[in-house]
């Protein structure tokens, strides 16, 4: 049954003397009401429930993943043969710019946000995030920012300066379409989403953990998400500044990057990569967190060296700030800077290596179950190791001056991002799908999905090592026949293989999408604890109730759920782990002892309205400033509405209670 239909009538107003605990419509300054729908589309677009927001993040990111994937296929089609003509030079430049921008900003980052939103509160035993309306705002900003950015395709051309958007090639003189403006403003909008989310999740982790849960008892996924939020908190302002400078240069005549006015184009590169390198860890760490949950679950033993994994994650977060100039070894920084950044870059390989070692040793001595999620997680170890090792070859600065801007680099970061981040997200899909939707994704299709993606990634990106070492630069719409060479290292041959590989990956992804539909249609309910899992999110129903936990669990140990299920029993052959309780029994226990008063935030109209104002302002900057005035008015209206709306819906806003089968008193109190 739908839960939490109405506010609790019990507490505040009984004693006439006490002031109302919550501001309701009748006691608020204005007459703005809170939306109260619990079903239908309104229950989604006005929701502040972290789980619904998480699902929406996931659905939209997945859509953008497909968009970015199609862009990648166009790129590989163009490069499949020498002097090919599938795409024009201009369209090719737009395609690779949007492929990278989409995959980074509209797929991996928000997909990680989807997982973080959904599971972080569950993993720490909270009922929602600290700032639920801000959370909704973050999602809508991401969605509208992403749509805004992609409308550039239909409004004069997509951005064409590469995702790194180096100055002065990004100035109006050299990129005269509005594409770069769409890019700048779109990323500003999605950037606000990231910042809002970062603050929200940091506060949530630090303040809303279940009783007893120390920081060093948090699941590793939560830890990695926390590190990522700090990275976002400090990285997003840098790119925001850079984007503002560029925006003012292009639209309002500023000269920050105008060489004729004495500007140094390297300013942009520094700003971009001070953001851009932490961004790499923003992309990869959530995935590290996911597989740090998946590997122990299916190895049936705790993560090896939890503290080392956590501290190495934090160390990556710190050292990640000191390596940005390794993207600029050929930029002419001078030998001292190059040497320093070269050594710093090698330094960061150490905590990264620690993680690989710990994951491997987690598997050692385990009882390994090769579910699809586990296969993806092991796939991450393999592919990320390859990417990491080629990364070490780039850290050697003189060697990097040969490699940089060749396909060797393209191979490296696709192993890291597709092999590391994306495969990790897929491990998360298969692992947590039953938790979110109460259904198991088909393992049969899942294994096909995994093997196609795994082989596809190697087929696509391994040849790029060869292409790079043979001197094929990046971002070239065509490569000439006369440079192909012959024999085993024939560039033409390996380009074709890479193109074939990209379609193998695409087939794998397609199987995942098919799996979603097949699973949804099958309507088979998953067991409550299908993986014999270890962490708090599995202590509740699947899908979780709106209020997450009937009783906020008290935490005694890392892997709390596992320790509630298993106890060590002495036998004649020494101590043995024995299952003492099933998940069902634990859940029943929790339900029987449900908290009396459950406070949940009410939905709100204002996050989506506020978010809608920003793209209107952005269109105005590009086309007509009057439109910006309209957008600003929308934003202001939403801000006032936000501030003035009552903290909770009025009792009379709700439908009368429908039935009496609930034994619990539930409330939608803020």
């Amino acid at each position: 049954m739908a839960i939490i239909e109405r506010p609790s009538a019990v507490p505040a107003t009984v004693d006439g003397a006490a002031a109302p605990e919550f501001v309701t419509t009748s006691s608020a300054l204005g007459n703005f009401r809170r939306p109260v729908s619990t079903t239908g589309w309104k229950s989604w677009i006005f929701t502040v429930d972290h789980k619904k927001i998480g699902i929406m993040y996931g659905a939209v990111s997945l859509f953008f993943f497909l968009v970015g994937g199609v862009e990648a296929l166009f790129i590989r089609l163009q490069l499949a043969a020498p002097d090919n003509t599938v795409l024009s030079a201009g369209l090719y430049n737009e395609m690779f710019t949007m492929h990278a921008t989409t995959m980074v900003f509209l797929f991996v980052m928000p997909m990680a946000a989807a997982f973080a939103n959904y599971f972080l509160p569950l993993q720490i035993g909270a009922r929602d995030v600290a700032f639920p309306r801000m959370n909704a705002l973050g999602f809508w900003l991401f969605l509208f920012g992403g749509i805004f950015l992609n409308t550039s395709w239909f409004l004069g051309g997509a951005p064409d300066g590469g995702w790194f958007m180096y100055s002065p090639n990004s100035s109006a003189l050299f990129s005269p379409t509005n594409g770069v403006d769409f890019w700048v403003l779109g990323l500003q909008i999605t950037g606000i989403a990231s910042l809002v989310g970062a603050i929200n999740l940091i506060v949530t982790v630090l303040n809303m953990r279940a009783p007893g849960m120390k920081l060093m008892q948090m699941p590793v996924f939560t830890w990695m998400v926390l590190v990522v939020q700090f990275l976002l908190l400090f990285a997003m302002p840098v790119i925001t500044v850079a984007l503002f400078l560029l925006s003012f240069q292009r639209n309002f005549g500023a000269t920050f990057f105008d060489v004729n006015q004495g500007a140094d184009p390297l300013l942009w590169q520094h700003l971009f990569w001070i953001f851009g390198h932490p961004e790499v860890y923003i992309l990869i760490l959530p995935s590290f967190g996911i597989i740090s949950e998946v590997l122990p679950t299916f190895a049936r033993k705790p993560l090896f060296g939890y503290k080392f994994v956590v501290f190495s994650g934090a160390a990556i977060g710190f050292v990640g700030w000191g390596v940005w100039a390794h993207h600029m070894f050929a930029s002419g920084l001078g030998p001292v800077s190059v040497a320093v950044f070269s050594v710093a870059t090698m330094l960061i390989a150490i905590p990264t290596g620690v993680k690989i070692v710990n994951w491997t040793l987690t598997l050692w001595g385990g009882k390994l179950q090769y579910t699809t999620a586990m296969l993806f997680a092991i796939g991450v170890i393999v592919l990320f190791t390859i990417g990491g090792l080629s990364g070490v070859t780039h850290a050697v600065a003189p060697s990097d001056t040969q490699q940089t801007d060749t396909y060797h680099i393209v191979a490296h970061f696709h192993y890291v991002i597709v092999g590391g981040a994306v495969m990790g997200l897929f491990a998360g899909f298969y692992f947590w799908w039953p938790k979110v939707f109460g259904q198991l994704l088909s393992e049969r299709l899942g294994k096909w999905n995994f093997w196609l993606m795994f082989f596809g990634v190697n087929l696509t990106f391994a040849p790029m090592h060869i292409l790079g070492l043979q001197g094929m630069p990046r971002r070239m719409v065509v490569w000439p026949d006369k440079l192909t060479g012959d024999g085993f290292f024939d560039i033409a041959f390996w380009n074709k293989i890479a193109s074939v590989g990209s379609f193998v990956i695409a087939t794998g992804v397609l199987l995942f999408v098919i799996n979603i539909f097949v699973t949804a249609k099958r309507k088979v309910k998953a067991p409550l604890d299908p993986w014999d899992a270890r962490t708090l999110e599995w202590i509740t129903a699947s899908p979780p109730k709106e209020h997450n936990f009937d009783r906020i669990p008290t935490v005694h140990a890392l892997d709390e759920f596992f320790h509630r299920k298993y106890e060590e029993v002495d036998t004649e052959n020494g101590p043995r782990l024995v299952k003492v309780k099933t998940a069902e029994e634990i859940l029943a226990e929790e339900e029987a002892n449900a908290d009396r008063h459950i406070h949940l935030p009410s939905p709100s109209y204002w996050p989506i309205i506020l978010a809608l104002g920003l793209p209107i302002i952005a269109y105005g900057v590009i086309f007509n400033l009057l439109l910006s005035v309209v957008g600003t008015a929308v934003v202001l209206l939403a801000v006032f509405g936000w501030c003035l709306e009552p903290s909770v819906a009025d009792d009379s806003d709700y439908d009368p209670p429908t039935g009496g089968d609930s034994t619990k008193e539930l409330a939608t109190l803020g």
């Binding site: 040497a339 598997l363 050692w364 179950q369 092991i378 600065a397 001056t401 940089t404 290292f489």
Partner: protein
């Protein structure tokens, strides 16, 4: 619960079953290292042809090997674990949380390896930045989408350059000489790269970067602009051509040889006036005069964003045009030249565009419609953002007879 003691015993159980069948498959990763064996791959950077590239190669080969070995160890271990600890109905393992000693050891180990790599790295960084042994300085300037080379007057590897030389596409240098390139750009960022001779260096407007160049032997070494520079980034190519001292002297002498006007009444003479009428606004031919004897001086800064266009005085001493992208010689001759032995290369290069080798197809079609061959930002309706200037060569709508005249004229620019 802390069970580090239990872990020790778990690890002590390492059963020494030596079945490493996966290791062989994983050794395939070393395939990467074989990249050095490629044949006829002109931009393979594991085949250094000069001192600087060799310094880099001496550093990168061991690094690749170490990376390969580490990879094989990791994958062999992982493969063994995946096979050995598969769920075969065994008990749930002990809930051990780690083994700090082992972990510290496994943290220090990569640290030592990386420290070992970092020392020669830093040494090499400084070695590649040396400037005190320079024997010749050449200014290299990038612009959309071609490279210009300016030879300052003075000594260049024992050859005296009496007058400045301006050329493009092919960087001609004396072999076995330490040349220092001074690299900059006139518009966006480009990057100069000749893989066989050195790593790359960005050409950044407003900044001057240096790059060492040295070729052991005479020969032609190809390269490509490697910083994304807009629409025709893919068609901004270059080569370094190394010549022995006497050939380099001959090349310099020829570059500085005075202008020879076409014989009156020839097609080339008609070409000269067609050239003055259509091309001379942007392209300079040194020494060319109007009918009244005044010098014809180009003013590309009025028409082109970068402010320059390639100098055509000695166009036929180069083997490719338009950002060194389209060949002036047949494929056969090009193959012969690129693969020539060092001792015969110089003579072939100094006389590369012979009537037998000439392939004027690309030149002709270029004159007919340049942006058709190489996309450039030259739509005359779309010059609002550039103050009316072009970013490449527009279509001049030349008639076929004008093209014939121009080709006849240009063929004499050698």
């Amino acid at each position: 619960m802390d069970r580090s003691d239990a872990t020790v015993s778990t690890l002590g159980d390492m059963s020494p079953t030596p079945r490493r069948r996966k290791a062989a498959a994983l050794a395939a990763g070393t395939v990467l290292l074989l990249a050095g064996c490629a044949k006829d791959a002109p931009q393979d950077y594991f085949q250094p042809k000069g001192e600087n590239a060799r310094t880099i190669n001496d550093l990168q080969v061991p690094v690749f090997l170490i990376a390969g070995v580490v990879g094989i160890v990791v994958f062999a271990t992982l493969g063994y674990i995946v096979w050995k600890f598969k769920d075969r109905g065994q008990d749930i393992p002990e809930q051990s949380h780690g083994n700090p000693k082992l972990e510290i050891a496994l943290t220090i180990l990569p640290a030592i390896i990386l420290a070992g790599i970092s020392v020669p790295t830093v040494v090499t960084v400084f070695e590649l930045d040396k400037k005190d042994d320079t024997e010749c300085i050449i200014n290299v300037t990038g612009q959309q989408w071609w490279w210009e080379y300016d030879y300052a007057t003075g000594d260049c590897g024992g050859v005296n350059i009496a007058e400045p030389i301006v050329t493009s596409g092919e960087l001609v240098i004396p072999a076995a000489t330490n040349v220092l390139l001074r690299i900059t750009s006139r518009d966006v960022i480009h990057s100069y790269w000749i893989p066989a001779l050195n790593g790359k260096r960005d050409a950044v407007p407003g900044r001057l970067h240096t790059l060492r160049m040295q070729a052991d032997q005479p020969g032609l070494y190809t390269g490509q602009c490697t910083e994304f520079c807009g629409l025709s980034h893919a068609r901004m190519r270059q080569a370094a051509v190394a010549l022995n001292q006497s050939d380099f002297q001959a090349w310099v002498d020829n570059q500085l040889a005075p202008y020879v006007a076409p014989e009156a009444g020839t097609l080339a003479a008609e070409g000269e006036s067609t050239y003055i009428a259509n091309c001379a606004k942007c392209h300079q031919v040194n020494g060319i005069e109007n009918a009244d004897g005044t010098p014809v001086l180009s003013e590309p800064d009025l028409y082109v964003v970068s402010g320059v266009a390639p100098n055509l005085s000695k166009l036929m001493t180069r083997t490719a045009i338009a950002g060194w992208t389209f060949d002036l010689i047949t494929e056969e001759c090009r193959e012969a030249l690129w693969n020539a032995e060092p001792d015969e290369f110089g003579a072939m290069y100094l006389n590369a565009v012979t009537p037998e080798c000439l392939d004027e197809v690309a030149l002709r079609s270029w004159l007919r419609n340049p942006p058709g061959m190489k996309p450039m930002y030259v739509d005359s309706n779309n010059l609002g953002s550039t103050g009316g200037k072009y970013r490449g060569m527009p279509n001049l709508n030349l008639k076929e007879d004008q093209i014939d005249q121009l080709i006849a004229y240009l063929l004499e620019r050698k």
